[in-house]
Amino acid sequence: MSEMKAAAYICRGCGIGERVDTAQMAKIAQKEGKMQLVREHDFLCSAEGVKVIRDDIEKEGVTHLVIAACSRRAKTEAFHFPTVAVARANIREGVIWSQPEDEEQREVRQEMADDYVRMACAEVKKMKQPAGNPNVGHSKRLLVVGGGVSGMTAAREASKAGYQVTLVEKTGALGGWAARLWRRVPDREPYRDPIDTGVQQLIESIQQDPNIEVRLNSVVASTSGAPGRFTVKIATESGDCVSDEFGAIVQATGFTTYDIAKLPELGGGKSPNVVDQAGLEKLALEAAENGQPIRRPSDGAEVKTVVFIQCAGQRDDTGKHLPYCSGHCCATSIKQAMYFKDANPDVDTVVIYTDLRVPGNGEDFYRSGQAKGVTFTKGKVSGVEVDGGRCKVNFHDLILDDKNAHVEADLVVLATGQVPVSGVDIEKHQDMPEEQRKAISVLNLQYRQGPDLPQLKYGFTDSHFICFPYETRRTGIYAAGPVRRPMDIAQALEDATGAALKAIQAMENAGLGRAAHPRSGDLSYPIVRLDGCTQCKRCTVECPFGAIDEDEKRYPVFNESRCRRCGTCMGACPVRVISFENYSVDTVGAQIKAVDIPDEFSEKPRILVLACENDAYPALDMAGMGRHHYSPFVRVIPVRCLGSVNTIWVTDALNAGYDGVMLMGCKHGEDYQCHFVKGSELATYRMSKIDDTLKQLALETERVASYEVAITDIARVPQLINDYVAKINEIGLSPMKGFG
């Protein structure tokens, strides 16, 4: 790298000049950091300051920059130099704002600032300006799997945004469940009466849309490739198969109803007069066609009393049925009770519930049901006895505490809820005996990690509920509608729109060779030096996004467009052959080694903090902004995800004489917050194995500690640091000092 020219710029603005000695930092950049050009500036992010840097890039041929000023998260527009490598030393948030201002602290504060300059200089020399992923596809065509309301809406929205869409539906008609409803719950003021489903218009708009190609009676036979270049084989019933290329995929495969035959105690499967909500819709549609009121299925007799049983096989804590709430059934039962009340107010309609859940404007609809005379009875149904045409619903009246309450009904409707159609559960699939692998794959992904989207809970597809609700763990493939979580039509419309827009974003980013969220726009990508690879497969197994396949020789094959740039593979690789141009084992390793470690008699410990850039690092910055002070003995390095932490960094730090290492990542486990799903979990797992190393070095296990930190932990993070430093002082400084 002969043509490298490195320059450091040290800002004196924002009070930096008053609290630390910038001249000394400049000297360090020059002498120790070996920067060819060093400048101090009073106001670096000003137009004039930025111009100085820009001129140096143009006229002096500077290729590598160190900016010692504010946090890398601040002034990103001013300090945006896309043609060169940039490293930033966080002097503002990380030093002067997070440390007390008094003179007494000047020495330790200065040491911090000096170290951050050393670290940035060391880092920048290991960096390259990423040029973008060369392995890109340019297809901008969207594949939508599922022709229900969610799928059709996703297709419509993408088409309206100017994209071509192919819509695959396994049955012979569009519409899904919504087409099998007589009416739907209203979605606008005054939320009083059931309204037309609107599905027919939606179907017509799809059929007339020149941007949308509909393939009925078809399924996805195989999917391979990556965002921007998915190759999908679509098989028709007749066995024909077409292959097409797509930029992104929306999976909107919806739900099936819970089988009422599994509820014999509620009369399920025992009498035609006990139906589920879908069954009642069928009766209502038939009745409407004949212009007749809904009749009792067993003998066509008039329906005088109809009982709706909520949470039938749902919210079940015995483990026999669905444990979750499907969220729409309360409103659906109210709607169906109105079918009867609107036709004839003398029909008794009783809704037996334990909790009535009608979120949002559903409350108005509920009130309207009450005004129409629907009776709501809080009770727990113990059983339904079927006798000829009549059904006797026995329940425990929870308000009157009457265990032997009952209603005689002509018709009983069970609210059974939604079961997602999400294909194969890839995690369970592997340990399942062959004969139990009944589930049929939806996407038939030719990915090493399995044929379908990973599932979160109860078979719903995975998504980061707070930050990226539509995303799945397969980049470029988005889930929408009840396959993602139980929902009604109104929510499905919104969901599908969101997923379509995310899919468009993914296609566009992929075409430019850039990362999708959360590092949206990142041009770096994992580069593997295959000649050093031992084919251990750790990277392929651990990549949370299924981005890595294997070739015939069992070498990893990276699909850069599927990659989210978390660096988990880099953290996993035991021989360290995976890296990014601007983020590698070396860039971080160099920073760790650049810190000046005081000798054991100085009473100044040094603690390395590896902080996740999504939550922990912002929390630290905000702690500085809020002037929450923390120990001056820490040196913080942001990492893409704790998953990218290679154990070598920890060993290096301990060998170099650091007294402790704090790892700060996001919450992991069942309700994870980790932006890269598994990164923080994997890191914690890897670190649990580091005890052996510590023992070999004759060090205490406390010298490496992991923490779960949320972005809101602004006051907690300084406390964690201070507590940890106190603990390190208690066990004493590292005996490794001076050996490094």
């Binding site: 009535l356 009450q370 005004a371 005379g373 009776t375 709501f376 009875t377 308000i399 009157l400």
Partner: protein, 207 residues
Amino acid sequence: MGDLNVEAVERYRNNFLKEVEERVEEGHWVKMCMQCGVCSGSCPFGPHWAHPPQELFMMIRAGRREEVLTSDSMWMCTSCYNCVVRCPRQLPITQIMHGLATYAHRLGLAPKNQPTRKFSVLFWNNCTRTGRVNELKLTLGLYFSDGFIAGIKKAWALRHIGLGLLLAKRLNPFELIKGHGCKDKKGIHAMLKKAYEIENRRKGFSS
């Protein structure tokens, strides 16, 4: 009054909710109760009666006519309006409680010896007879409502208060003999009669 009850039972069959809706003051609100229990929780007397409002409303929906109308719960309401202020569904609970009490009374189902009912009847008769309340007669009526001996005992126990009122000229013993009336007593009686007629018509009472 018994006839009125039989007639109602006939007319509404099992549908007590409908009966309440049509015949009890503010009764059409009962179906709007969402069983949150805020009223029962807010009622200072709630823990002391058999059926707090939430439960009464549920009993109405469950068709427990007999139990509701013979209950003394609605007679226990002190009209503090706590429940009305707090009910998220804005039910006029206090009014419904009084409406239910009045209705039960009209049907002849209200518990005969319920003290609130007894006092109400006494008060109403006292006040409508002359068009104004005669405190002395009302007090004596109340004292002797449980019999002569009991009345004497009560009067004796409270004699100091009576004497005090007498001395302060707040009580005139001659009211017992004549008592003063009000202007146009006949007019008031006619007005009340008319009001009954209107109510009966509106609520579908046959008499």
